[in-house]
Symmetry: C2
DNA sequence: GGATAGATTTCACTATGCGAAATCATGTGC
DNA sequence: GCACATGATTTCGCATAGTGAAATCTATCC
């Protein structure tokens, strides 16, 4: 359109109406109480009818709310998305320095995973500066029953949930060491949970061994899993203590209090 | 443009690109780990180049972030706006039921205010179902020195701040009862703060009397003010206890812990 | 080096978003 | 109750911002 509005000329993202919507949200955020259309148009340099239309679209999408006096305030969608972001940012941001420290300490790959249905998803990693190390792509997945933290997550969800999982997935073998018999898997999950860590003895991949622990949040629920993966010949059980302590520390940072 | 994309046909706010941007944010939010462009385009039914361009605009405005693998996640702007909203929503949402209960109990108008510079701003109200009651428009303002909660807020900010306020505003008289002499104002603020409530004895408006208390947050700072306003002939000092208790309760809900 | 898949950019085209103007709604003063 | 002022909402002709097919680029795998 034919204008040279007094919009912030440094902001031009390539889609004008998104820039304008962002400016309106910022203007609303500057006020602790709901703001009139006239003021928002003035603060953003937009034509009143343009501001009105963009605000109507933001209302429909719940980024903005309008009160009975036709004043605008930020909408609940921002809180929802913000909370979602906050939830996701917490564990990864908190974990990263600890993972790097463990990586330097052990000299092996440290992974952070979350459960998503029947899989663990790798959401963060710290890889050592050595030619041969276990490589896991962020975003990639593995079935619960073949990973150390996955067995802990299964264990945390209870025996019935393990049975249901087994029924859904049929416990496919990934190596000759994968637990494919339900009683064996149940026992392994139970024992792992009881002692606070789990091992993956070449169950997902031959020659790769892992040690995993859980990270819990303030509600006591499992938030994520932390693990060290190494070529099996290099894996050392003495790492268990440091890894368990790391999991405990992260859980505490997330507000988890172990039953005393 | 010439398409009948499989977008959610119930969502049509009047600005297509805002609807599309919202759909992309929702799609990203459904994934705990960063998502590829291809998946986001598929989930939203958008052309890949369209999705790419909208995401680029959202990145520029910090609603989205892109990692090194060209995967997208929610951006910090959402957290910033969400936190801002959360801060604002807390006290009003928490206060509303308590205000309604006080209104029913006293039969008079209950106001919630916040400080904004040299004014209090009315951000919530509960008005009684009687023909004559004190009316205050949400969003309207009053100078600090003529309101009950304003004097408490001045008191909470210290004597130097009261002096500065007096210098800036010159303490204009609103009625013959307004404190216009600085020593009197300082004494009134100090006394009010000490006893935990303040009175407005027809200082803002003839025939109108108020009782006000402060609401504090988890940092101990003043978050808002709560007051009951009535025609002076109907005001009763026995309401002080219930109002003070309401302020205390709201402060506790916001995480305030009084020094013991 | 070639194949493949996904990301990014280009560009002709037009539907969407724009803003001036008209209309509506509300509050105030007399 | 009416007139006026102000702010919000809607309309509609217009033109450009946003679109999507196609081209190009980049990364990965064999």
């Amino acid at each position: 359109m034919h204008q040279d509005t007094p919009e912030d000329s440094t902001r031009h993202s390539g889609i004008q109406v998104i820039d304008r919507a962002a400016a309106l949200l910022d203007a609303i955020a500057r006020y602790p109480e709901p703001v009139s259309l006239k003021i928002l148009a003035a603060e953003t340099g937009l034509n009143v009818s343009t501001a009105h239309r963009i605000l109507a679209a933001l209302i429909q999408n719940q980024f903005v709310e309008k009160d009975a006096a036709s004043h605008y305030r930020l909408g609940r969608r921002l809180l929802q998305l913000g909370v979602r972001l906050h939830g996701n940012i917490d564990v990864r941001a908190l974990a990263r320095p600890i993972m790097e420290s463990l990586r330097d300490h052990f000299g092996e790959t440290i992974n952070l995973t979350i459960r998503e249905g029947d899989s663990v998803v790798y959401i963060e990693k710290a890889t050592p500066n050595r030619m041969i190390h276990v490589q896991q792509l962020i975003g990639s997945r593995a079935p619960l029953h073949v990973t150390a933290v996955g067995k802990l997550m299964l264990g945390a969800s209870g025996e019935d949930a393990i049975r249901a999982y087994a029924q859904r997935t049929n416990l496919p073998a990934y190596t000759r060491n994968t637990f494919t018999a339900l009683p064996d898997l149940i026992a392994a999950c139970r024992e792992s949970l009881a002692r606070g860590y789990a091992l993956d003895d070449e169950e997902a991949e031959i020659d790769v061994g892992c040690i995993g622990v859980l990270i819990r949040d303030s509600t006591g629920n499992v938030s994520a899993g932390l693990s060290v993966s190494a070529p099996i010949a290099r894996r050392r059980l003495e790492w268990i203590e440091a890894l368990t302590e790391a999991g405990r520390s992260l859980s505490a940072q997330l507000g988890y209090r172990a039953n005393a």
